[in-house]
């Protein structure tokens, strides 16, 4: 009984240490999105390269697709960009670009310079659609399933690990469904 009581401080220490460790291991910048598992917010926006044509979320129904939020002023978009270009060449899944709070000529010039991995890019000049999608930083990438439900959100530049271990397996699984 006495020896059990001596273990109490140790047990308390372990509990606190585990909580603190979990707290340290989490990235506070990654805010879990309440939109995962919910229908993707609808938009109908003008296309970046063809301003007289529109793209709507309804047009993407029936296929798995990625929405990548990007901007020419976004430095970390350049980090993930080569990976997106590779992904586009592999032709696994269509990537729609949301050109977020950008100027159209600058967006087009940026794609000309670094390559255009997007099936279509649409223009969200005032960031309204971004707010609907819960975007709070660029880049962000969403996985949307055939029924138009958001299945995953990646915050920050897509890394090769995130693409290989999370995004692509999910895409393949959703494509089979």
């Amino acid at each position: 009984m006495k020896s059990l009581r001596l273990l109490v401080p140790l047990a308390l220490f372990v509990v606190i240490a585990v909580f603190l460790y979990l707290g340290l291991a989490r990235d506070p910048r990654e805010i879990p999105s309440p939109l995962v598992g919910k229908p993707a917010p609808a938009f109908t926006l003008a296309q970046l390269k063809a301003p007289d044509q529109k793209l709507s979320t309804a047009d993407m129904k029936g296929q798995v697709w990625l929405l990548n939020v990007w901007a020419s002023w976004c430095v970390s978009c350049r980090v993930e960009h080569p990976l997106l270009v590779q992904l586009a060449q592999a032709n696994v899944v269509p990537v729609i670009g949301l050109n977020y709070k950008d100027k159209v000529p600058e967006g087009i010039a940026w794609l000309a310079q670094y390559g255009d991995p997007y099936k279509i890019s649409v223009v969200d000049a005032d960031g309204r659609v971004g707010i609907d999608w819960g975007v709070y930083g660029v880049p962000e990438t969403f996985v949307v399933d055939k029924a138009g439900v958001i299945r995953h959100k990646h915050i920050g530049p897509v890394t090769p690990e995130a693409l290989q271990n999370t995004i692509l397996p999910l895409v393949r699984e959703l494509q089979k469904a």
Partner: protein, 153 residues
Amino acid sequence: MRATALLLVAMFSVGAIAATSDAALDARLKKLDEELRCLVCQNQSLADSNAPLAQDLRREVRSLADAGKSDAQIKEFLVARYGDFVLYKPPVKGSTWLLWFGPFLLLAGGAVVWWSVSRRRARPSRETPGAVDGTAVNAGVERARELLNDPRT
């Protein structure tokens, strides 16, 4: 001349009415913005932050308020997009139960420990040797008297 004066008065009073209702709306929005977190600079409220997203969200909050939405509806709009994180005061629900009531649990636990420790300390103080066994003391006194009265000494 008179008509011009009247027109001027009318213009100014309309301006004044618009200004007071604007001030009330501004105060309401300021209070609301202070309860909402900026997602970019996370330790600042929407009211304090100059991040572009905070400006956009303040504009969004204002346009929702202009559309006649209540504070609760505006918060709901933001929570649906950004989660509870956007609220500085987390709502009471299953996942936040520990956060809200954990401190009280710890307080109650502390009270139990304090109570049991103070009880254990109080008990032995009644058993300290100095204050016990009057008969033994009396026997000692009696023995001393006998020795004093003993003629042999």
